[in-house]
């Protein structure tokens, strides 16, 4: 299917122009890499779309790394972030590195960070990994700029918390404090397939005890990527011994409301979310060593 009714394809060179176009027309869609939009189009879901605003000429594709962490523009591709993360070769970025390995080459080269977040698709892998890293996004609107912790962007299945006329311009991943490691695991690790369950964890240790833990789950364990406060509470203060990891795995079941679809039932998602959490925690712990 094509965008039969597309009338305007804007390629503005400045953020202000984008904001003006979006404020004029709240039906306009922002186009970055386009892989998600093309996917919707191919399923015949965008037949009525009249306006696309391509934001890849705004110069928002830079990635900067410093002691505070990583600052990335919204149109930086997954491939670009992957190169940056690989160069860091740091345990604290282990989960993001794992997740960036999942999409096929062609998607990594095309899909953008802003796009994969704005899609608010719970089956994507990168958003789960970014949630575990306490990522914040920067949003521009006609009233100026605001920052939002990532989970708050995800409003529901394919629904985000952007106000009409707003645009994600970038994201910042704070450098994990202390001795920290992350890991990411995906069920349905089939190359080009949406996750049935994915899990990203971030663990920080201090003096042999876990001082901070983040457990994020996606892939249809709920309408959005979610964190598991119950699992995090078990891990925090623990020695991260096998019993703690197993208990944390079990605990995620209470923090999720899995979906049933043609890929998997809610029962299955619930069962494997526990296993995937435990296994992902084990990998993060191994990286702490």
């Amino acid at each position: 299917m094509a965008l039969q009714n597309l009338k305007d394809f804007h390629r503005p060179g400045a953020v202000e122009e984008v904001l003006a176009l979006l404020s004029e027309n709240d039906e306009a869609l922002v186009l970055a890499g386009g892989t998600f939009i093309r996917g919707l189009e191919a399923r015949g879901l965008l037949n009525g779309l009249e306006t696309l605003v391509d934001i890849r000429r705004l110069g928002l594709d830079t990635i900067r790394v410093d002691a505070d962490g990583i600052e990335a523009g919204a149109t930086a591709t997954l491939a670009k972030l992957q190169r940056v993360v690989a160069a860091q070769n740091a345990a604290w970025l282990g989960g993001l590195a794992d997740a960036l390995d999942c999409p096929p080459l062609q998607i990594r080269n095309t899909a953008t960070l802003g796009g994969c977040l704005a899609a608010s698709c719970p089956f994507f892998d990168i958003p789960t990994a970014l949630v575990a890293l306490d990522t914040e996004i920067t949003i521009r609107g006609s009233d100026g700029e605001r920052r939002l912790p990532l989970p708050e962007l995800f409003f529901g299945l394919f629904a985000n918390a952007l106000e009409p006329g707003e645009l994600i311009t970038g994201l910042s991943i704070p450098h994990a404090a202390g001795h920290s490691a992350g890991a990411f695991g995906k069920l349905g690790a089939h190359a080009n397939v949406l996750a049935i369950v994915n899990v990203a964890v971030q663990l920080t240790v201090d003096g042999g005890l876990c001082s901070a833990a983040c457990v994020a789950l996606g892939g249809g364990v709920a309408d959005t990527v979610v964190r598991s406060p119950a699992a995090e509470a078990i891990l925090t203060g623990s020695k991260l011994d096998p019993a703690a990891l197993a208990a944390a795995g079990e605990a995620v079941a209470g923090d999720i409301q899995p979906l049933s679809d043609h890929q998997a039932s809610a029962e299955y998602r619930r069962a494997v979310a526990k296993v995937m959490t435990r296994r992902t925690l084990e990998r993060a712990v191994a990286r702490l060593a």
Binding site: A42, L105, Q106, I107, N109
Partner: protein, 153 residues
């Protein structure tokens, strides 16, 4: 209303009037008459349409042409230099990696980026590198072998 873009395709400059909703795949096939990029699914699932944009492998079916104004594109037709086949092409022939051949051009373009970035990949890296490309004929064994052979040339 069509809009003008310029593309460099396999080293040749083109000025093209394209429809706003046209994908890069459509432009390469229908306006430039190229056969290498093929439509298998038109939704980023099979990899038959893989081309390089500025040296990076992309699904050309997932790209709106207007976004690629000024880009440099390489298709399988542009792999051979001065009539000399690229090592991947020679290896695909010799290894028996070509059956129906419909996935071949896209498969080679994915493999090319792998070899550009990692000249001596191991088997797992090769499999990962072509995991965005489907083949229904070969079971991939001879494709993996062909990429390995090409890396040794």
């Amino acid at each position: 209303m069509k809009q003008m873009i310029s593309l460099e395709v396999n080293g040749e400059a083109h000025e093209l009037a394209v429809e706003k909703n046209a994908t890069l795949l459509r432009v390469l096939r229908d306006q430039l008459g190229l056969n290498g990029p093929k439509r298998g699914c038109d939704s980023g699932g099979c990899g038959c349409c893989t081309v390089h944009v500025d040296g990076q492998a992309v699904y050309s079916c997932m790209c709106y042409a207007l976004s690629y104004d000024g880009a440099s594109i390489t298709t399988a037709e542009g792999l051979a230099v001065d009539g000399e086949l690229h090592p991947l092409q020679t290896s695909f022939i010799e290894a028996g990696a070509v059956q129906c051949g419909y996935c071949t051009c896209g498969m080679m373009m994915a493999a090319k980026q792998l070899l550009d970035e990692c000249p001596r990949p191991d088997e797992e890296q090769i499999r990962q590198g072509i995991s965005g490309n489907l083949c229904r004929c070969t079971g991939y064994a001879k494709i993996v072998e062909a990429v390995k052979m090409a890396s040794e040339r």
